[in-house]
Symmetry: C2
């Protein structure tokens, strides 16, 4: 297979998609993107008034916070899983490690009302906050129309629309696929060959390295660790405790789904340490060793690890230049005082 | 005095300064501004890895978080004073409510190593974090030169330089001063007249409404409440507990400085609710009533309050269009794991 040669091998994975998938019932418009960006950066949709989507999924960085576990609202330390990047999440066929949301629209409501993330008691409370902000009243009306344009569904639709702009094309790998042979060095092309010949691409397939053509909304799940009895994997398991979390079983309650996870895309994976659903592995070389042992029953040489990592490094794309939104204001007052749940929660935190 | 007429009255306060004051030993350069912006937005200079300057001083908003008291690192609720806006802080002759820093450079080190704000143990720990980030190594060398360009002093110098770009000229008031009579309505011009005739401008003087020409680095301090025995002020004091905080006395330990505060600028004051050093007053009309009673021993009619507020609303300037910085990355690893203080602090928070 390695004999195929670099470029055609790369073509087998495919280059960065020319278009992001958009659901028919939530078309992208410049106004909706702008509104979604404001909401994405607005900490007022969290109970404390301090936690926005951007707090954990930092757009100025790599779309994560590079912590094993993010701190939730009021500094909560019980966020159960590692925070994935929001860059290219638009290409995921399902969202979350366990695939429990089948679209960005369905996903966005999760963290806002999750007590350990943004902590709003319910969607209505979010709507009430936003209704107090004149600029949002106007913008929701312009974007969504209707009598009561500020709804929790519309909040999610706008945020999802903004997220569809957070994509990173034009990685060295993509330039290589397009024919620029100098875009990858010898180590990276060797790593690309190994990635295919070892079988990493049976799971990390396709242009996002996350599935072999699975339709949007369905999800491509695989067991991890797949080979827990492999001695090297067993010692990783002892160290990193991957199997403390039952994975997709939490969603389906089907014992066959125990330890199954959505196969994560690998675009920008060099920037999104630490690794795996529990954020237990600090470095990419170690993550590659874990994958080889636990998914393929293989033990890699240092040289092989270096090469695979060089290939994965070549998947880092170009991040969009973002302007900061301007958040609509509440002149002469603040909506973050006299909020009973906020004051109660802050007092409990003392 | 009101007879002076609108425009000349406004000229008496002065229009938005054409230039921001820059200390001779920290000249502004585009590269230093860019580096300072990255540091300002970088949560990695907090112990938890989640709290940047922007967390409390939100540049996408009004330079504050509109909370009575910000939440510090790990959700701490003991940040003692209300967070002032960072917009136009470059014009303050001293920084902090009690004036304990005499420059932006001196100020910036405060929050980073303040245990209840960003929580870094000391400047060295900040330097160690940044030294692990290759992009910063390069940029500090380019901006500051020398053998060890990453120093805590240089961090502060860069952040201060970025802050000097966060200014908001061209408010309706400024357009009025320049001769555009339609920039203020009748209520705002009446309010401007009252502001002068009542004597608000004895303290809130000059183009930033914070001092009568006090030199940079010195500070213009006044007592608040100045007339605590005025019955209306006494009832506000009972409600809002201003005198729980001894103000500048904390800095000088001189009993004569008890309850003295830096007179805050009033640019964009409409957007920076809640008000006063303890963030106890939710609305601007109420803040105006408090000032009239406690500083001037005056009781205002609803109409007068409305007019003064209309004038203060006219001090809201144009906020700069900001691009998000791109934070330098640490490929294939994260610097936020295995940090003993972080892990200890997170565990204690459980
Ligand atoms: C307190 C931290 C935190 C906040 C705030 C937060 N998230 Fe997340 N996000 C996470 C974590 C943790 C996960 C993974 C949870 C899981 O899979 O069980 C996640 C998952 C996601 C995913 C799925 C990505 C993937 O590859 O599966 C998307 C998309 C996302 N978040 C977007 C958002 C948006 C939009 C907001 C704001 C409305 C937001 N997040 C707020 C921590 C956070
Ligand atoms: C049988 C399926 C399968 C195979 C084969 C496989 N992976 Fe994975 N990979 C997964 C799954 C599932 C996860 C998510 C595991 C988790 O965190 O729970 C994952 C996670 C990863 C991650 C961490 C991603 C992140 O953001 O944390 C990396 C890196 C990775 N794989 C690389 C590889 C490499 C390199 C190979 C080949 C040596 C490989 N994988 C083989 C299924 C597979
Ligand atoms: C946890 C919240 C928090 C964080 C994080 C924070 N600040 Fe502040 N900031 C405050 C508070 C509260 C005050 C007022 C404290 C006082 O006066 O005693 C303040 C005061 C200031 C002032 C003085 C403004 C004035 O008008 O007197 C400036 C300037 C400032 N901060 C800039 C920064 C910078 C730069 C950073 C990051 C290096 C930062 N702040 C981080 C809360 C915060
Ligand atoms: C004797 C001096 C003095 C006079 C006169 C005075 N002020 Fe103030 N003003 C201050 C001081 C000092 C503070 C800060 C008090 C504190 O928060 O501790 C302040 C705070 C304010 C604030 C709140 C600013 C913020 O960001 O929280 C407003 C609004 C204000 N003044 C408006 C007025 C108006 C309107 C008048 C006239 C009715 C007035 N002031 C008269 C000294 C004065
Ligand atoms: Ca990660
Ligand atoms: Ca305030």
């Amino acid at each position: 297979l390695v004999a195929l040669g670099g470029v055609s091998l790369a073509q087998a994975f495919g280059e960065f998609p020319a278009k992001v998938p958009v659901p028919a019932n939530n078309p992208m418009t410049p106004e909706k993107i702008a509104l979604g960006k404001q909401l994405y950066f607005d900490p007022r949709i969290s109970l404390s008034g301090t936690e926005s989507c951007d707090t954990c999924h930092n757009v100025a960085s790599n779309g994560t916070d590079n912590l094993a576990h993010s701190f939730g609202v009021f500094g909560r330390v019980d966020v159960p899983r590692n925070t994935p990047t929001v860059f290219n999440a638009a290409f995921n066929t399902v969202q979350f490690w366990d695939g429990r949301a089948n679209s960005l629209e369905a996903q966005a409501k999760g963290p806002i009302t999750n007590p350990v993330e943004m902590g709003m008691p319910n969607g209505e409370a979010v709507v009430k906050r936003l209704q107090q902000i004149p600029g949002y009243q106007k913008e929701f009306a312009q974007v969504f129309g209707g009598k009561d344009p500020i709804t929790f569904d519309n909040v999610a639709a706008a945020i999802a629309t903004y997220e569809r702009t957070l994509i990173t094309p034009d990685s060295p790998y993509d330039r290589y696929v397009k024919g620029d042979k100098k875009a990858l060095n010898a180590s990276a092309t060797a790593g690309m060959g190994l990635f295919k010949s070892m079988g990493c691409d049976t799971c990390h397939a396709g242009p996002m390295f996350d599935n072999p053509g699975t339709p949007m909304g369905t999800g491509f799940f695989q067991k991890f660790p797949l080979q827990p009895t492999n001695p090297q994997c067993a010692s990783y398991e002892q160290k990193y405790q991957f199997m403390k979390d039952p994975g997709r079983f939490d969603v389906t309650h089907n014992p066959a789904d125990k330890y199954y996870y959505k196969v994560p895309g690998l675009r920008n994976v060099a920037l999104t340490a630490p690794y795996f659903h529990n954020g237990s592995v600090q470095t990419l070389p170690e993550a590659v060793r874990v994958m080889a042992a636990c998914q393929l029953g293989k033990s890699l040489s240092d040289e092989q690890v270096k090469d695979v990592v060089a290939f994965l490094d070549s998947l880092t794309g170009k991040f969009p230049k973002e302007t900061l939104p301007r958040l609509p204001q509440t002149p002469n007052t603040t909506i973050l005082m006299g909020v009973p749940q906020l004051e109660k929660a802050a007092a409990q935190n003392k």
